[in-house]
């Protein structure tokens, strides 16, 4: 192996690692979309709240983000379903534009609240149990990134298992496929919607918790991820969990490799261009329902 191949390989794998995080964020987003056709602009804010939950657990009680992760997930689950009940339930039949408008309002609201409650300061968690780096075969990776990627795979796997193998998951899938038919079959559609919001928010929250060991935490942090999450969801196909997963990895690789080979200033442009090409050739995305 020569040096440049090493670097290329390392870059590629770094792309996969960050891509898995994108995948987890996108899985949550696509979940909400798949079940009720709503694009959640405030999704990055769920990620931000997940990061803050980890941070406060760490700052106040010295609890490691890895330890508080299940609680973060639960809290975000609760928040997601609460938002459904308080706000989203009322706009479920509204035109797409009002829905965009509403979730955009939520985005600003959460950012404002985060600044109000926790100040706009940047924060980091610097003594997590996952820190340092791992080296093998001449490649180096940050342990936090590896753990985050592994966590993302596990959580995505759990969501996948839940949808495929449990009765509740099947009910959710049925609701996604046809609301009215699901209602006729005795499925409580409202509950399914709340469940989708809960899971969607929890996925983003977990992604936030996993990121919190190596990414700065501040009220606007969601903005860094939201556009990429949209592209990932659309690339994988709105509503497709498997699609979001693979698309996340692809986006991560394209971003990192493109940045390395062509110039970092165009890395986001490359990802966006990839999305456009795919969606023009296959308007329903990679694995979306036609």
């Amino acid at each position: 192996m020569n040096a440049s191949f090493d670097i290329l390989l390392q870059t590629l794998l770094s792309g996969v690692l960050i891509g898995l995080i994108y995948a987890l964020v996108a899985v949550g987003l696509t979940m909400i979309f798949g079940v009720m056709d709503i694009v959640n602009f405030a999704h990055g804010e769920f990620l931000m709240l997940g990061m803050y939950a980890s941070f406060w657990g760490f700052a106040l009680w010295a609890l490691d983000p890895m330890f508080t992760l299940p609680f973060t997930a639960l809290m975000l689950f609760g928040l997601g379903s609460a938002i459904y009940h308080v706000v989203i339930r009322r706009i479920i039949r509204a035109p797409m534009l009002s829905q965009i408008f509403t979730t955009f309002g939520l985005l600003i609201l959460f950012r404002g609240l985060a600044q109000f409650l926790w100040k706009p300061d940047f924060r980091t968690i610097d003594h997590s149990i996952v820190q340092g780096k791992v080296a093998f075969a001449g490649l180096q990776f940050g342990l936090p990134q590896l753990v985050a990627a592994a966590g993302a795979i596990v959580v995505t796997g759990i969501v996948w298992w839940f949808l495929q193998r449990t009765r509740l998951g099947a009910a959710l899938e049925a609701t996604a496929a046809d609301k009215d038919a699901a209602a006729l079959m005795g499925i409580d559609v409202q509950r399914m919607f709340a469940l989708a919001w809960g899971i969607g928010a929890a996925c983003a929250g977990v992604a936030g918790a996993l990121l919190s060991t190596f990414f700065p935490i501040f009220p606007e942090v969601g903005a860094n991820f939201i556009l990429i999450a949209f592209v990932t969801v659309a690339l994988g196909g709105f509503g497709s969990v498997a699609g979001a997963f693979w698309a996340g990895i692809i986006v991560g690789i394209v971003e990192v490799l493109g940045g390395f080979l062509l110039g970092p200033q165009y890395k986001l442009a490359l990802v966006l261009a990839l999305y456009l090409i795919v969606v023009l050739l296959r308007p329903q995305g990679l694995l979306g329902r036609a």
Binding site: F33, D37, V39, V87, R90, I91, A94, P95, M96, L97, S98, Q99, I100, F101, T102, F104, G105, L106, L107, I108, L109, R111, G112, L113, A114, Q115, F116, P120, P219, L227, F230, V231, A234, F238, Q265, Y266, L268, A269, L272, A273, Y275, L276, V279, L280, P283, Q284, G285
Partner: protein, 337 residues
């Protein structure tokens, strides 16, 4: 009865026009006039957006691209060739139309969220390209000369009144085009494309062709607003003229006011700007994000309780008032309509 109604409408309209025309002489200071100009600017963009996003139902979240193209084209023509911004404005519109047709042709195959996402992606790509394009000033942006030129060069320092009438003229032009479209066969076709695309296709309407007509008008008018922005602020950079946040704001005023109605975006612009500027002036100085929280709560409330915007609320109100009147008149017969 109907005539009486139409007359009332006409009187209100004329009174409003007079009020709007006289506004610069009614406001207390330049700052208030500046707010009025901001309202008209975003209203103009919202009305232009409405042609594509409202009437034809193609939800674009990338209109800042057209706005930015308008601003950059006229500015660069002015800086490099000394071209008058009047011509630059038309050129900007022309470039925006070419760009719109180039992206519209492939993207109109996409539906709903896919189309919206594609427009975000395209506008973002354009912003990235301009940010890294030295000839266009890159991230540093372009500054226009500040010297007063009057109506020839559209730079006014002594007073903001000319800016007000200029943007008012642009808004009236944009409203006029919208009105013509709404009244013509195009209006019917657009609504058919929006509500019943399959039926429209089956009766032989070439969907893509009419969507392209809509985006042509919409992008041209949006670009005119972009040129105005450059002439007013005298400084443009990709972040302020091409950002997705601007695209969303343009769509927001239309949604807030009522999508697909002629005056809706104007009402939306008044309300959104009033909320935004008032909350910022009252709470922005505290630095705690209070202004954002209030702003966000207000737009969520509007979206949740009036999903069809102010226009929908107005229609409801009008409807209820009419019912009330009728019931009043028909009180003896106890007839419900």
């Amino acid at each position: 009865m109907r005539d009486e109604h139409a007359w009332a409408k006409r009187i209100v309209l004329v009174a409003l026009l007079v009020l709007v025309l006289a506004l610069p002489y009614l406001v207390g200071n330049a700052s208030q006039l500046n707010y009025a100009i901001l309202v008209l600017m975003i209203a103009q963009a919202g009305v232009a957006w409405n042609i594509l996003g409202g009437y034809a139902g193609q939800v674009s979240l990338g209109h800042a691209a057209f706005y930015g193209i308008g601003a950059y084209t006229s500015t660069q023509l002015l800086l490099v060739f000394g071209l008058s911004p009047w011509l630059g404005m038309l050129a900007g519109g022309g470039v925006a139309v070419l760009f719109a047709l180039a992206i519209g042709w492939p993207c109109f195959r996409l539906k709903g969220h896919y189309f919206a996402m594609a427009t975000i992606a395209i506008a973002e790509i354009l912003q990235i390209v301009v940010t890294n394009w030295d000839w266009l000033g890159g991230a540093v942006g372009l500054s226009l000369p500040v010297a007063e030129t009057g109506w020839r060069g559209l730079v006014f320092n002594k007073s903001k009144v000319p800016y007000y009438y200029l943007i008012l003229g642009l808004l009236l032009l944009t409203l006029g085009v919208s009105w013509l479209i709404e009244r013509s066969f195009l209006g019917y076709y657009f609504r058919a494309i929006k509500d019943e695309p399959d039926a429209a296709r089956s009766v032989g309407i070439d969907l893509t062709r009419y969507k392209l007509v809509a985006i042509t008008a919409s992008s041209f008018l949006t670009a005119l607003g972009g040129t105005f922005y450059a002439q007013k602020e005298l400084f443009i950079d990709p972040g302020s003229t091409m950002a997705t946040s601007l695209s969303i704001k343009i769509a927001l005023v239309a949604i807030l006011g009522g999508v697909g109605s002629l005056g809706g975006p104007v009402a939306g612009a008044v309300i959104l700007t009033a909320i935004e500027e008032t909350t910022r002036a009252m709470f922005g100085g505290t630095g705690r994000g209070t202004d954002l929280i209030i702003y966000a709560l207000l737009i969520i409330l509007v979206a949740v309780f009036y999903p069809s915007g102010v226009a929908g609320w107005w229609r409801d109100l009008e409807h209820r008032l009419l019912l009330f009147k009728r019931r009043d008149r028909a009180s003896g017969k106890r007839k419900t309509s």
